[in-house]
Symmetry: C2
Subunit: 492 residues, 2 copies
């Protein structure tokens, strides 16, 4: 697949001049249409060999189009605020919103190739990473991002010459790294690896385009034309190729028993409650003050039936923590900025740095709960969310986060009692909205959604804790205790 | 002013228990009302002596109220992404939006006191900084932020005892710094400085509340009650005390001549244009690639009449730059998130780090141009904006930014010609909106606004460049040349 980009493609100057003018005009028009209609977004990923002209290509695209609606991001060695969070955080931060074009230089592929060149990963690990990249890109395109990947390639002699040129000038010498030299030396060996990588990460919705880099005219025109074609399709209303349609895996038969069989009669009298709560709060306080926690982070996810007592539970957790250390994120309907991005974007924004704690009052699980039950998103959209969420949480855990997820369950009768009590109080904060009554009517639908959610996303790395919340005392102690216990296990 | 907080205020346990319950309930209700109506925001600043219980106070406020709508921020030594930008950037990032409560620990006062204790600043510099703080806080309160400042104080014996206690425990020893010890040793000397600082930064809209910290019950109740009173006022519809009303300084007589006398006949023929543009673009490219530029940043602000050619000029600038280095910020109407913040907030968000370039296509000057002329904000609001903007730019420059501001001027006749040409073309991007025609009718109003803007905000640190834009060639070369020249001067 690379050979055809090693034959020495060239475009003559006169041809280039003629074609460039047309292409430029067309690109600009397509770009404005996308911007105006808020389509896309378009994400152009440029990777490939050192000396192939990746940066020049990005500059050319900015020159041809209106750079006001393009953002180009290079991802060098992580900045400290990035190092303190999962690797993917920096990419999420740089994603273009609808209507815009993002250009990512190398992005996740640099690490991938370099790690392999440096023998930091085994072949099996390399394969595993390729799978992760596939899944990540699949998610991006499923979320409506038009992903165009360009691999700027050079033949061995061409690369040799380019590296030589770069090294001869004082201004560009720094660009040639030891890895580039190793790659040239073992060009043939790496050739296979590049091919494997390109092959395995070429998915239907985001294939690689290999472009020979030796002749700038050829390279720029080729990239520009492919981009123009893609933008034309977007403007013609085409959607990215959807993921191969699979029948949604059926729910495990009778899995709602998970929820229905919870023993909601469990109680704690006030005396024991005070004692136990104080004990576990003290434990939690001590653990989060430990030096070792500075290398970790804590992500707490709270979901539950309406009026199940999430707010009260969260306050009992927060009380044990230093206010400077945590952030509580109440999740309501997304803002305009958030709606222009993939659904996980607004949660990635809030991911704590090392040493930090984020408490989510409702979470990314809204996708498979309210959005599923109320039909706010399509069936394929919520079906794929389970996988996407598992990957998201896996990335958090791998970066050192401890992830605790709580589902607070009450009975239908208890909920009615709490609704009625709230309606009688004068406090506005206890207002019951129409949404609450509407959700209540779909009780069975929510039960099924919760059971499926737990079945599909309770992982070893980020398990769900089901909380019998009929008695508030019992629920609060269980929650604080669970966090303290999981934290203790993780820190020891 | 501090003596009354050194007398040993105490609240008995029984009294405390009784009052706490009432206070807590009232605080919570007031908080929900603020959250629901999107009032405020409330910014609580807690500073004072080490050992006085500042952190404990913040924790208590979080415990009393609903922590989901509070965000507590500590500002330690700057994180690297903060160090790469003006000092104020971190405070802007942490500002609470409307409806929320922010708690800032020490914030800008820590630096102020410490610098003085370390003899890093002269008395005169200290005075100057106090004035800056006054202005900054005045701006915050003018923008609708309810700013409550608590100085937690201790008498000398009380502080001595507290520091001793902190030092005796391994867990808290690290909290006592050399500066704290120096402050205790020279308590009487610093006493005067604290008083001076508190006195000079107590403005009508944000006075200091000095609270004795020795008895936690007294301290917490006092802070809580003052906060409750302030929230009650907010909910009763009170606005922060406005800045002493001054008659707006009149425009300099006949200053519109600045604009009207621009020689719009200046032209460059295409040949000279190509040559000159290429020359200055190359210079600009070379300058931004210099190593020394990595320690600076570049902020470019573009304003101009409609159809004056801002977009085209910006593209000529961007072409000389590496796409990975710059960000273009098109400024349109603010998003929901931005509307919940002071007007400068959305520009602070986009301030480049060292080595970066931000190009603003329309800017913070919208406040004194379109918002003034169209009456989108009150007269006092745009009148105070000149000062606020000057301070903003001064902060950028002091942090190493080179700030270039361009006003592109065309004649009324040329504008009409361009409007008509645009209406004839098929491209949507050249759409003329009703706003454009409306703005055109207020030509004289805009002229006056531009002249006032230049008079009041063209400073040595961040001068305006008026660009005769009737001829696009002439305008583009002038702009690129000006940037290159200013950059060269700054880097040499």
């Amino acid at each position: 697949m690379l050979e055809s980009a090693e034959v020495g493609h060239k475009v003559a100057k006169a041809t280039y001049a003629r074609e460039e003018t047309k292409l430029r005009e067309a690109l600009l028009n397509a770009q404005y249409e996308i911007a105006e209609a808020g389509r896309g977004p378009i994400l152009v990923l440029i990777s490939g060999l050192e000396g192939g002209g990746r940066g020049e290509t990005a500059n050319k695209l900015n020159e041809w189009m209106d750079p006001r609606f393009i953002r180009t991001s290079a991802f060098g060695p992580g900045a400290p605020e990035e190092e303190a969070r999962p690797l993917a955080w920096r990419y999420w931060r740089a994603l273009p919103p609808r209507g815009r074009i993002g250009i990512f230089m190398n992005a996740w592929y640099r690490q991938l190739v370099n790690a392999h060149v440096r023998h930091e990963v085994t072949d099996m690990q390399f394969d595993a990473r390729l799978q992760e990249v596939r899944q990540y890109e699949q998610m991006l395109t499923d979320e409506g991002i038009v992903l165009l990947k360009f691999w700027v390639h050079l033949s061995r002699p061409a690369q040799k010459q380019r590296l030589h040129e770069l090294e001869s000038s004082r201004k560009t010498r720094w660009r040639v790294t030891a890895i580039d030299k190793a790659a040239l030396k073992h060009y043939n060996k790496f050739h296979d690896k590049w091919e494997q990588m390109l092959r395995e990460t070429s998915i239907a919705s985001a294939p690689w385009y290999v472009v020979e880099g030796a002749d700038p005219n050829y390279r720029n025109l080729t990239v520009g034309k492919i981009l123009l074609e893609a933008m034309g399709k977007v403007n013609a209303g085409a959607k990215p190729a959807p993921r191969a349609v699979v029948a949604p895996p059926p729910s495990v038969i009778g899995n709602v028993a998970l929820i229905r069989r919870l023993d909601l009669t469990q109680k704690l009298d006030d005396d024991r409650y005070e004692r136990e709560l104080a004990k576990w709060q003290a434990r939690l306080a001590e653990l989060t003050q430990r030096k070792r926690f500075q290398e970790r982070s804590l992500v707490l996810a709270f979901e539950g039936s309406d009026a199940a007592g999430k707010g009260g539970a969260i306050r009992r957790v927060a009380t044990s923590l230093d206010a400077r250390q945590y952030v509580i994120v109440p999740v309501a309907s997304p803002s305009q900025e958030e709606l222009a991005q993939p659904f996980l974007w607004r949660f990635w924004r809030q991911i704590p740095a090392r040493g930090g704690i984020a408490i989510f009052d409702r979470t990314w699980y809204g996708r498979v709960l309210v959005e599923r039950v109320e039909g706010y998103c399509s069936v394929p959209d919520w079906m794929r969310a389970y996988d996407e969420i598992n990957q998201f949480e896996e990335q958090l855990v791998r970066a050192g986060a401890i992830v605790c997820k709580f589902w607070l369950q009450i009975s239908k009768a208890e909920q009615l009692k709490r609704f009625e009590a709230r309606q009688k109080t004068a406090y506005k904060r206890f207002k019951i909205t129409r949404d609450d009554w509407r959700n209540r009517k779909k009780w069975a639908g929510y039960e099924q959604a919760v059971a499926d959610m737990v079945d599909r996303t309770s992982t070893e790395l980020a398990p769900w804790t089901l909380v019998e919340a009929e008695d508030k005392n019992f629920a609060r102690v269980k929650i604080v205790k669970t966090i303290a216990t999981q934290l203790e296990r993780a820190l020891d």
